[in-house]
């Protein structure tokens, strides 16, 4: 009798908008901080810390059923990726702020500077924890055996690339009106093309792998490519979030457009990519199908 018994496939409903926002802003802030440090773009580093503090933390806090117990989040760092993520976010904020402070005029009295040994150590911790914030959300989801679509180590890797893309997108959105537009566009343009191409390859490898794994994972992929999330996926994630930004970035790279126009096109690339990045998290969370009981 039981061999014939099946339970219909069901999507997860527990992690919704606030988690999508938290994962999205967390990725952006980590990528933005790393890239801004590499590009010596201090506005970007400050913006990253504002985003993670007032965006990610707020969304995560209000998603909790009992937010007044949030301090308990630190208690299982040995086993839980949510605990590890909380620690990483905290380290990122604390050491990120400490590394940024000397660049403000009011804090010249601090006993470290960006160039000195202590300042470099603080920055190193901030960078490592920023990278941790970029990747940990992928691990949070991939540690869920109940949802086979998420249960793969490809997910943290894709999250890292989306975080870098989000960081680059945020920088493009900010620099168009600054004097640093030309310098940063020259450096970040080719890197951006590499990020987008890598993300496209990874995303389709991930979907192909999942399609040929389990029934529940295949249903998740079907939902994305031909089911009820096909519009957000093809329209938002692929076309708006990857294809158009790639085409525009390549255009600015190989055209003879002057810098104000290039910077404005790249700002548009940034906005489109940010939109695509959010829809990616939305699609991934919404298409999380539980494994069948039997």
């Amino acid at each position: 009798m039981i061999e014939e018994f099946t339970v219909e496939l069901r999507t997860q409903r527990e992690w919704n908008w606030l988690i999508m926002i938290a994962f999205f802003l967390g990725g952006i802030s980590g990528g933005l901080f790393l890239l801004s440090t590499y590009l010596e773009f201090s506005l970007g580093r400050t913006a990253a810390l504002v985003v993670v503090t007032f965006g990610t933390c707020t969304a995560l806090y209000f998603d909790l059923g009992r937010p007044e117990r949030a301090l308990r989040l630190f208690s299982q760092v040995g086993s839980s990726w949510i605990s590890r993520g909380t620690l990483l976010i905290t380290l990122f904020i604390v050491f990120g702020v400490l590394s940024v402070l000397p660049s403000f005029g009011w804090f010249t009295w601090l006993p470290w500077s960006a160039a000195a040994g202590l300042g470099q150590a603080i920055l190193a911790i901030a960078l490592v924890s920023a990278f941790g914030v970029m990747i940990y959300t992928g691990f949070v989801m991939s540690y869920s055996p109940a949802i086979p679509f998420w249960n793969t180590t490809l997910l943290p890797i894709i999250f890292v690339f989306y975080a870098f893309m989000g960081g680059a997108a945020a920088i493009f959105s900010m620099i168009w009106a600054t004097p640093e537009a030309e310098r940063i566009s020259q450096v970040l343009g080719p890197i951006e093309i590499l990020f987008i191409l890598s993300t496209i390859v990874l995303l389709f490898s991930y979907l192909a792998t999942m399609f040929y794994s389990t029934v529940a994972a295949r249903e998740s992929v079907r939902m994305l490519i031909a089911g009820r999330f096909a519009w957000p996926f093809w329209g938002g994630v692929i076309i708006v979030g990857l294809v158009i930004p790639l085409a525009l970035t390549v255009y600015t790279r190989f055209s003879v457009t002057a810098i104000p126009a290039t910077a404005i096109i790249l700002a548009l690339v940034g906005v489109l990519e940010l939109f695509g990045g959010f829809v990616f998290r939305y699609s991934l969370l919404r298409a999380g199908v539980y494994v069948q009981l039997i």
């Binding site: 308990r72 208690s75 009981l293």
Partner: protein, 199 residues
């Protein structure tokens, strides 16, 4: 000692007496079904039939829910029972997305079963449940501690549920698992559930 439950699927008639017994014993609010019997129609006219699958927390030996819990609210006793410390849980629901058996529940607010507000039974019983935290079957740990069986096992009119010590080779559950080719749900996920089904 490892407490396990064995469910004989050939005996289950889908009467949901276990569901009601659990409700009565644990006073769980609406939307929280710590145990229930899933059912499905099969076959075609003139020989259709219903098949039943009682489900509850599997109290896994290697629980995915415990691994992801960021506060240690989900813990495991020495007798294998997996429980939630409601005072530690902060309602992140990571355990719900990690549980392959979909038997964990979460409510931000509790309602009543009746339109005119909470009954005296509900008022008293709901004090045992906190809103905004994750809830699940406890294998009636309060009864087990007194040497009793879980309410669903005691109530089942067809005696399809058995409860006992897996580590005792002479217990009913050990014998049934051994002799009746018992199986676990989604055994391939390596969580080693403590609920066994007899085909």
């Amino acid at each position: 000692m490892r407490k396990v439950m064995v469910i004989d699927l050939r005996r289950c008639i889908g009467c949901q007496a276990c569901t009601v017994a659990c409700k009565a014993e644990n006073a769980t609010p609406p939307g929280l079904l710590w145990t229930q019997v899933l059912e499905k129609e099969e076959g075609k006219y003139p020989t259709p039939r219903k098949t039943f699958l009682p489900v509850l927390c599997n109290h896994c030996k290697d629980p995915a829910c415990k691994r992801v819990c960021p506060t240690g609210a989900t813990y495991q006793r020495e007798d294998g029972l997996v429980l939630v410390d409601q005072d530690k849980c902060l309602g992140c629901r990571a355990c719900i997305t990690a549980c392959p058996y979909q038997v964990r529940f979460y409510k931000r607010k509790f309602g009543s079963y009746y339109p005119n507000g909470l009954t005296p039974f509900e008022e008293l019983g709901y004090k045992r449940h906190q809103p905004g935290v994750v809830q699940k079957c406890t294998f009636c740990s309060h009864r087990v501690d007194q040497g009793l069986e879980p309410a669903c096992v005691q109530t089942c009119p067809t005696n399809c549920r058995f409860f006992g010590d897996f580590d005792d080779p002479n217990s009913d559950v050990s014998r049934l698992i051994r002799e009746r080719y018992a199986f676990q749900l989604r055994a391939e996920l390596a969580t080693d559930p403590s609920v066994y089904y007899l085909p």
